[in-house]
């Protein structure tokens, strides 16, 4: 029974971690994973002494053990005090420098260093789907974000409804999307593949289905994909906008062409002016 359970965990468990940052597919997630490992190693030295000393001292100074000194009125020592205050302060100071540096390096607003200009994609969080607008190509998709491998991607995010949070575990950490505001996220994919993206901020009954896929493909394929979408995409008009604003789950990705310029700004500001519909 136990071995069966262990086998199950080995088979299924490793699969689970492959969906996360451990199996990174871009420079941002790779750097995050590297940072993760550095911090983890440092933390072994923080937790190690406690994990060793607690059972050791509790067991050694148990009541049955009569061979040891019993000093009921001893309760202070300057050298011990130094030992318990100074190393943690030193570790936190060291980690603080690392943290400050890493936070600036991995700032989601910071453009990735690259010779190519970043691909601009605008993201609107809707109930319960993601709208991706490619302003330079006049197309838009729902629940599918196609990107060329190797070229940095710059996302601008807003929400057409409540607050949501965009996460692509294998590529980049998350950022909130809020109505009337624009947040940003920079990332790139290193290798072709389909990566899972999701909303992590609960927003109602369809939340668990609000997933999208990031399709990273070589540049030539990406260009082909663009022309395909411009050709077969449904023209984006007011009816499309109206139906997208409805609360619904998109069963499969949708594609739109002839996206009007300024759609993102329009959707970002739309909420600001109108009174909310009160049912």
């Amino acid at each position: 029974m136990a071995s069966l359970a262990a086998l199950l965990l080995l088979l299924g468990g490793c699969g689970a971690l492959d969906l996360g940052v451990m199996n990174h597919a871009g420079p941002v997630a790779a750097d995050q994973w590297r940072l993760y490992k550095i911090v983890a190693v440092v933390l072994i030295f923080v937790a190690g002494p406690v994990l060793l000393l607690v059972p050791l001292i509790a067991y050694h100074y148990r009541l049955d053990n009569k061979d040891d000194a019993y000093r009921p009125n001893w309760g202070f020592s300057w050298s011990l005090e130094a030992l318990i205050w100074l190393p943690p302060i030193a570790i936190v100071a060291g980690l603080g420098v690392l943290l400050c540096d890493a936070t600036h390096q991995l700032d989601p607003y910071r453009a990735l260093p690259s010779k190519q200009p970043p691909l601009e994609v605008q993201v609107v969080a809707l109930d319960w789907k993601w709208l991706f607008i490619y302003p330079d190509d006049g197309i838009a998709t729902v629940n599918q974000l196609a990107v060329p491998v190797g070229r940095p991607v710059h996302l601008s995010l807003t929400s057409g409804t409540v607050m949501q949070s965009l996460l692509i575990p294998q590529l980049a950490g998350q950022i909130y999307a809020m109505a009337g505001m624009r947040t940003q996220l920079n990332f790139a994919a290193d290798r072709p593949g389909v990566y899972r993206g999701l909303n992590t901020q609960f927003n109602g009954a369809g939340f668990q289905h609000q997933k999208f896929s990031v399709v990273a493909m070589p540049d030539r394929e990406y260009r082909h994909w663009l022309t395909l979408r411009a050709a077969d995409g449904q023209p984006f008009d007011d009816n499309v906008l109206k139906s997208l604003m409805q609360k619904s789950v998109a069963q499969r990705p949708l594609f739109f062409s002839k996206v009007p310029p300024g759609l993102f700004e329009h959707m970002m500001m739309a909420n600001m002016q109108k009174e909310e519909a009160i049912r």
Partner: protein
């Protein structure tokens, strides 16, 4: 079914608001669960009323408990509320884990909206109606005893706090029977909880339950702080106070400063919802970021409000069961105060992902790590307390040891989350859920249960069954690891929290493991109930009326168990820290006082139950838009306060002869009792008189 019924009288009530009606029309497992939960509330409520009536206990209940201003009885009532709410929230946790384990690639048996209600009530209850009342009850009971006082500074206010908490808890229970609870989580983030997106009664239930809880806690904070500042017995200088009293003081200060932002946040949200304001809406200049700031300005100190008292408990437990002076008392006090102050400087780490600049994130990240230093120091203080001691592995001590080992793991993942770039990956995932349970279960729940086991003999006069205590303790520990370690893996694999169904089959084995852990945690609670039952039946054999079963150190152990209502026949005069511990070794601690005096105690007062019931009714009226009920409730509250201010005859005298009779009978029992050595302190040989060894 969806039309309002008598809207003038019943406001927004429709027949569809009743889970029983919904289950009748649509008998799915989901609706049947909701109906069963509502049924349990109704049936057990009626059963309690019938039982009290049959046993003719109404008068007793009213005079001995409900109107009592005795800090000890108020403390016990708080803990009763906490245990009832713990049972509910634990069952909800099990339902959620079962649903997730079942719902891999299919919708499972709990509908999405219902699942959202479950995580919202689970979180709100565990924080506001389990952890808070439990620790408030302990503080209420123990602090006056530890500082040598007869009651808290403001006993009526104390009772009102209890009754407001009870009203909030009742509102949580009412949401099971009538209507639906919020789906916005325990933090209730707008704009999701705004009327445009959630027009139902759910967010209103949440708003008013939490508001009642936060008002009660603000007043408790004021009460405890003033009690500790003003009511200490002669000689009890600040630096002579037991550590539990110190941590209670820090918690009280945190309550005073951290609860008002929450009250303001929920009040502004209520203005948005009731009167069309736009504080946090998407439209017309509202901004939900303000809510996030207000909420976490409360929310982060809140973490320490619930953890600091547990640190105090562990200090008492480790010191007592190592029979040794607490190592580094002063450094522990400094560390506690440092934590209390630093806890106000880290709130932004709850939303590193809101798009602020890297420098802001870095500053708050470093502040977050800094708070780990005094926390780490405390763990070493307890380790050095055991050093050269005589450690006994009693139930409270096992909780303390499990806490130290487990809490440090939570601290590690806390440092990881303090790094903004790492937080970006695991924020809002099960990693975060695992982290805060890893802090709060060992850091609060184990502490509360250790305190329950440790002080139970003081409160009720007999020890709890040790065997069932250990079984329960073991289940809490094993269950915790099984239930939450898998969540770290799932979070690192990108599984969002609050997910009702799962599409990734790779998650399945970990979800099974977590569900197994949740079941063991449920067993742990069951074992706790069995322990209570067994202990009540064997109370004769485990009697510790003398009151000092563990060779205790602080003043609460120097009186009988249970203590007389006046606590101390004569207020103690102390000349050092752990005066009682030393007195047992150097003087005669059980020598009678030279003379007895009359003692003035407060008379009972009905004002608190009246205010509690009226505020429960008023907020229920607000939830359902039964405006007459809301107005009526508010008038009753106002009238009760005015009426109370006219009551002149608030005290009664316990004559010196009565004090002498009570005190002497205890001192006789003390003289008769056999001192018990440490080796057999958990056996029936323990009559509450510790064998003193220096």
């Amino acid at each position: 079914m969806t039309d309002p019924v008598w809207p003038m009288l019943l406001g927004r009530f429709t027949w569809d608001s009743l889970p029983f009606v919904r289950a009748w029309h649509n008998p799915t497992t989901n609706e049947l669960i909701a109906a069963a939960a509502g049924g349990i509330v109704v049936v057990s409520g009626i059963a309690v009323l019938v039982l009290i009536t049959v046993l003719r206990r109404w008068r007793w209940l009213w005079t001995e408990w409900l109107t009592s201003l005795d800090h000890k009885k108020i403390g016990i009532l708080y803990i009763v509320i906490a245990l009832v709410m713990l049972a509910r929230a634990l069952v909800e946790a099990n339902l959620m884990r079962l649903q997730q384990a079942v719902a891999v690639g299919n919708p499972g048996f709990v509908a999405p909206e219902h699942f959202a209600e479950l995580f919202s009530t689970h979180g709100s209850i565990m924080i506001f109606f389990m952890a808070m009342p439990f620790l408030t009850g302990l503080i209420n009971y123990l602090v006056p005893l530890q500082i040598g006082a007869r009651d808290v500074a403001f006993p009526v206010l104390n009772a009102i706090s209890l009754w407001l908490t009870a009203a909030g808890a009742a509102l949580m229970m009412a949401s099971l029977v009538i209507g639906r609870f919020s789906t916005g989580g325990w933090s209730g983030y707008p704009p999701f909880t705004e009327i445009g997106f959630n027009p139902g009664v759910g967010p209103d239930y949440w708003i008013w339950a939490v508001t009642l809880g936060s008002l009660a806690s603000t007043m408790t904070g004021i009460n405890i702080a003033v009690t500790i500042y003003k009511m200490r017995c002669p000689g009890m200088k600040l630096m002579r106070m037991p550590l539990f009293t110190w941590t209670s003081l820090c918690t009280a200060i945190l309550m005073i400063f951290a609860m008002p932002p929450l009250t303001v946040a929920t009040a502004l949200l209520a203005l948005d919802r009731y009167l069309g304001f736009h504080f946090f809406t998407n439209a017309l200049g509202g901004n939900m970021m303000h809510y996030a700031n207000l909420f976490w300005m409360f929310g982060h100190p809140e973490v320490y409000i619930v953890i600091l008292p547990a640190f105090g408990i562990y200090s008492e437990v480790v010191s007592t069961f190592s029979s040794k002076e607490l190592y580094g008392y002063k450094s522990l006090v400094i560390a506690t105060m440092a934590i209390a102050v630093l806890s106000f400087t880290v709130w932004l780490h709850h939303f590193f992902t809101m798009g602020q600049s890297a420098s802001i994130n870095a500053a708050f990240g470093i502040a977050t790590m800094a708070i780990g230093v005094p926390t780490g120091v405390k763990i070493y203080n307890w380790i050095w307390t055991m050093f050269r001691g005589e450690v006994r592995f009693t139930t409270p001590m096992i909780y303390a040891l499990a806490f130290m080992m487990t809490f440090v793991l939570g601290g590690l993942t806390g440092i990881i989350l303090a790094f903004p770039p790492l937080d970006y990956i695991v924020h809002n995932t099960l990693f975060l859920v695992a982290h805060f349970h890893n802090m709060l279960i060992p850091g609060t729940l184990y502490g509360l249960l250790a305190a329950y086991t440790f002080w139970f003999p003081k409160v009720f006069g007999y020890r709890l069954d040790e065997r069932w205590g250990r079984i329960s303790c073991l289940c809490w520990i094993v269950g915790f690891y099984l239930a939450f370690m898998p969540l770290y893996v799932l979070g690192a694999s990108g599984m969002a929290r609050r997910t009702q169904a799962v599409m990734e089959t790779a998650y399945r084995p970990w979800l099974y493991m977590a569900e197994a852990g949740a079941l063991i945690l449920l067993c742990a609670f069951a074992a706790l109930i069995v322990q209570l039952w067994v202990s009540i039946r064997r109370r004769g054999a485990n009697d510790v009326f003398v009151g000092d079963p563990w060779d205790g150190r602080a003043l609460e152990w120097s009186v009988s168990a249970p203590p007389p209502e006046f606590n101390f026949a004569r207020l103690p005069h102390v000349d050092q820290a752990h005066w009682f511990y030393d007195a047992k070794r150097k003087y005669a601690p059980y020598a009678p006082p030279i003379a007895y005096h009359d003692i003035w105690m407060l008379r009972n007062s009905a004002v608190a139950p009246v205010i509690g019931i009226a505020s429960g009714a008023a907020t229920f009226g607000l939830v359902w838009h039964m405006w007459w009920l809301a107005i009526f409730g508010l008038i009753v509250i106002f009238a009760a306060v005015v009426a109370r201010s006219f009551v002149r005859d608030t005290h009664r005298v316990i004559p010196a002869s009565e004090v002498a009779r009570i005190d002497e009978s205890w001192r006789e029992a003390t003289a008769r009792a056999q001192p018990v050595p440490r080796e057999i302190e958990t056996s029936p040989a323990n009559q509450g008189l510790a064998l003193v060894r220096s």
